[in-house]
């Protein structure tokens, strides 16, 4: 049981950590820059939202499967497949939770006051420093919200995971897959226990969220 929870957290945490830099970058591209092909980019990142996760799973199976280039590279480098490992679970969780994280970040980035970025530039900060020290901290709330939204979604990810990582107890079975298995076997009370664990995890995430927001606010108002 502890193993199951730890695996779930590991998968979701890794997925979230992979997503953060990409989501911040894409969020910035879409939220604060006027780039060409914005629509195409937005479509690509939003797609996992509009498709049933199982279908996303099949795409991933083809993309990182044994016979794919990525699968081969993994074989070559680590002597191991990606599919049917917790890495595959993390990839699935990452892809599916990405649109949520990035959307929240886009909105937050759009809310940042240009005058402040301009001030930073006039004080000698280049675009990257301005981004890291001004823009990013100014969308702290949205950023934290986006990251934790992504994390919660990653913890709950089921459809794509079961396809690309399978439902292998002790190896790739995360809490949602375990819940599904229990429900399939009619073991309702065991399923309920797992649902309670999911709920507790969600609550802990929300408490961390609050703590981060309060901490950020306190810091800036000290």
């Amino acid at each position: 049981m502890v193993e199951l929870i730890l695996l779930s957290i590991k998968v979701a945490a890794v997925a979230t950590l992979i997503n953060i830099p990409i989501a911040v970058y894409i969020g910035w591209l879409i939220g604060r820059r006027n780039i060409r092909g914005k629509l195409i980019l937005e479509t690509v990142i939003s797609l996992p939202l509009a498709l049933p996760p199982v279908v996303t799973g099949y795409f991933l199976l083809i993309l990182v499967g044994r016979e794919s280039a990525i699968g081969q590279i993994s074989q070559f480098l680590f002597g191991n497949d990606i599919v049917f490992t917790w890495v595959a679970s993390a990839i699935a969780a990452s892809v599916v939770s990405f649109p949520l994280m990035v959307r929240a970040i886009i909105v937050a980035m759009q809310g940042v006051d240009t005058t402040l970025e301009r001030s930073a530039r006039s004080l000698g900060a280049g675009p990257i420093r301005t981004f890291l020290q001004i823009t990013l901290p100014l969308c702290y709330n949205g950023l934290v919200a986006g990251i934790l939204l992504g994390f919660v979604r990653a913890i709950g990810e089921f459809g794509a995971t079961i396809v690309v990582a399978g439902n292998i107890p002790g190896r790739t079975q995360t809490i949602p897959l375990a819940i599904y298995s229990k429900v399939q076997l009619g073991k309702d009370s065991e399923a309920i226990n797992l649902i309670i664990i999911s709920t507790v995890l969600a609550i802990i995430t929300l408490i961390i969220h609050h703590w981060l927001i309060v901490r950020g606010t306190r810091k800036s108002q000290r």
């Binding site: 016979e67 191991n80 049917f84 399939q184 076997l185």
Partner: protein, 230 residues
Amino acid sequence: SSSCGSSDEQVVVFAAASLTDVLNDVKKRYELEHESTVQFNFGGSQALAIELSKGSPGDVFISAGNPPMKFLTEEADIEISSTSVVAHNSLIVVTKSEEIELDGYSNLLDLDLIAIADPSLAPAGFYSQQFLINTELWMDLQDKLVFAADVRAALNYVKSGNVDAAIVYMTDGMTEPQLQIRKIVPSTSYSNISYPIAVIRNKKTSLSDIFVDFLLSSEIEQLFLSYGFK
């Protein structure tokens, strides 16, 4: 921990979800007696077949019913060893209340809603459809049938009171003691529900073969019977 991929001492078995409990028992016994370990990937048989066809690294496939196995060989061009049968199952009708009178299958016509697994998505649905066609109920029940995603969903529809009855496997019915099992489906009205097992070719065949042999032993046959299989 076994965090990265299948080690060489492992057999990866893709198995129908309905076999979860019994196979977990099998695994315990197998690993006591053998060097190698077994990893299960449980899911809907059709979904598992699709995954295998898309390159999922399973060594052994145990399907609920023949259609997924057929799909694998005929439509997906996956090479498998010759198949054997691990167990059999049978169809029953479950209801929630005892009051519903179901003396024979023709009483199904008196009900409002009946759930079956979706014939195109799940083997259980395929067999249920066979039964209803062969008993000439199919046409008359058209408006009363609810297709569930899988056999477990059909069972849950009964449990939650959203349908009056569902046609499910015996083994599934046995997991829900509070439901009424009605053995009113003639075993002649549908094909033999077998659980075929096959080794996916070009995989770790020797280990896989050992596991398959173990599974087919008489000791294990007893185990399956205790779970309601035939």
